[in-house]
């Protein structure tokens, strides 16, 4: 071993260092990525921004550390399931993504089948995102739907539609949801497929048909879409019926793992067509500024299903 004493200057400030470490752990540090309000620029490494710009056909989420899980980003126009148990951070993930895109002048639409617009705005304020300003920009629309508002076909109609072969059948052309005229969103969040499925209680076949129509509707629209779906905390399936994860281009899973008497959060990209991505579960935290993903930090245990 090197016998000379280290010549380092030990007059450094440990309390400052400690504070910086704490901030990094909370996801509020300057270096790397930071979440922010409309006023704050989201800082990305030059490499990531240029890569995304050059790619053009990929989109980033703006969630700190999450985009590093991809080689390029999420392919534009993808339908992505955002799956996870209660309290795993699905809504926060989607709100944060929309906040990022609205701050870049892109149009976003949050379709809530569960929480009210007011409640969602409060969520945003909790993380320091000025929801009123975002709405006032005209680029963000939040609208609450009741599951019963869904334009679904009658039971008989569904059966006919499923087997109908004529492409110009009126039944097949019926839109599954109504969007505001003149507002063509670049990004859409549907919160949630679970709530929608509840409107089809006892009519499993109709729900599957509706889900398929919904996915195709958004595909035609050309937006990049996030569909929230509630699962078990350590899920083995990632959607209500299984058909949604088959139809979706991508599946992002959020975990809230129990470890003795505490919980640790994690996230993974289970599937994403059209791009290479990390295939491992990595650590995630929800800080005061939003979600922070640690792409290099593996998660230890707690993932066993009973």
């Amino acid at each position: 071993m090197n016998e000379k004493k280290s010549r380092q200057d030990n007059s450094f400030d440990m309390s400052k260092i400690k504070a910086e470490i704490e901030n990094k752990l909370k996801g509020t540090s300057d270096y790397g990525y930071s979440t922010g309000t409309l006023e704050q620029k989201t800082q990305y490494t030059l490499e990531a921004v240029n890569k995304a710009k050059k790619a053009k056909k990929y989109v980033l989420t703006g969630v700190s550390g999450f985009d590093e899980l991809f080689e390029n980003g999420i392919p534009k126009g993808s339908n992505v399931l955002v799956a996870g148990g209660a309290g795993s951070g699905k809504t926060i993930f989607c709100l944060q993504t929309l906040q990022y895109h609205v701050s870049r002048g892109e149009k976003c639409f949050y379709m809530s089948f569960e929480e009210s617009e007011k409640r969602l705005m409060e969520h945003m304020e909790d993380f320091g995102w000025n929801s009123e300003k975002l709405l006032a920009s005209g680029n963000l629309k939040i609208k609450r739907f009741l599951p019963s508002d869904i334009h679904y076909l009658s039971e008989k109609g569904n059966e006919d539609a499923m087997f109908a072969k004529e492409e110009d059948s009126q039944l097949l052309q019926l839109e599954p949801v109504t969007l505001e005229e003149g507002f063509e969103p670049d990004f859409v969040v549907v919160d949630s497929l679970t709530a929608i499925a509840s409107a089809f209680m006892g009519k499993g076949g109709s729900y599957r048909f509706y889900a398929e129509r919904l996915f195709r509707f958004f595909e035609k629209m050309g937006s990049t879409n996030y569909f929230i779906t509630e699962t078990k905390q350590i899920p083995e399936t990632f959607s209500q019926t299984g058909v949604e994860e088959f139809l979706a281009d991508g599946v992002i899973v959020l975990y809230n793992i129990k470890r003795e008497n505490v919980r640790e959060r994690a996230i993974e990209v289970l599937k994403m067509r059209g791009t290479k991505h990390q295939e491992r579960i990595v650590a995630m935290k929800i800080s005061d500024n939003g979600m922070v993903v640690y792409p290099k930090q593996e998660v230890f245990g707690g993932m066993e299903t009973k």
Binding site: Q278, E279, R280, E298
Partner: protein
């Protein structure tokens, strides 16, 4: 450092079979890595070039230690599975083969298969350190599949003289899957404490 008897055992095992030999070396945990290094020194001194598959330590750590022990690391290729597993960036070096963080066994197998012909010497070795470490991350069925591939590679009649070494800590050598692998090896060399 290895005792003369241990060195002799390894040398005899090396010379045992023209078409390759499979050895399991059981090491005491005291100075485990130093003894690994001694084994590599012995092999390289006999003109062997090899692939060192490390599940335990990152490439930088192994290569700098080997170099300090006088081993010519240009005769070695390293598969840095340890860094891959940790999620950190793997070292950029001509001797270090990168594998994905998911550490797919098929990818590992492919990496070894493609690396063997790159070794210039006719005398080659594959050093696995260690199956018990990778068993913490992968199902046993995958570990057995991996071992099977390695054993089949070495046993091919028309292949060059490839030596396969499974390195195992003595205290872990009684694990059932290790005993299953040991059943297929040509020789188990047990290194004593205080060598």
């Amino acid at each position: 450092m290895l005792k003369d008897e241990t060195k002799k055992s390894i040398e005899q095992a090396i010379q045992m079979n023209k078409h390759g030999v499979i050895i399991m070396i059981e090491l005491p945990i005291n100075a485990y890595f130093e003894m690994n290094s001694s084994t590599i020194t012995l092999l390289t001194n006999h003109g062997f070039q090899g692939i060192y598959i490390s599940f335990q330590r990152p490439f930088k750590n192994i290569s700098s230690f080997f170099e300090s022990e006088g081993i010519d690391t240009s005769t070695l290729l390293f598969i840095d599975a340890a860094t891959a597993l940790s999620g950190e960036k793997q070292h950029e070096d001509a001797r270090c083969i990168h594998v994905s963080q998911e550490l797919d066994i098929d990818e590992l197998v492919k990496a070894i298969y493609l690396s063997l012909p790159k070794l210039k010497s006719q005398k080659k070795f594959i050093f696995i350190d260690s199956l018990t470490t990778i068993s913490q991350y992968k199902p046993l069925s995958e570990i057995m599949r991996f071992s099977e591939f390695l054993i089949k590679t070495v046993r091919k009649e028309n292949e060059e003289n490839v030596i396969l070494i499974f390195n195992v800590a003595k205290d872990l050598a009684q694990k059932k899957f290790i005993r299953d692998v040991a059943f297929h090896v040509d020789q188990v060399i047990s290194v004593e404490n205080n060598e």
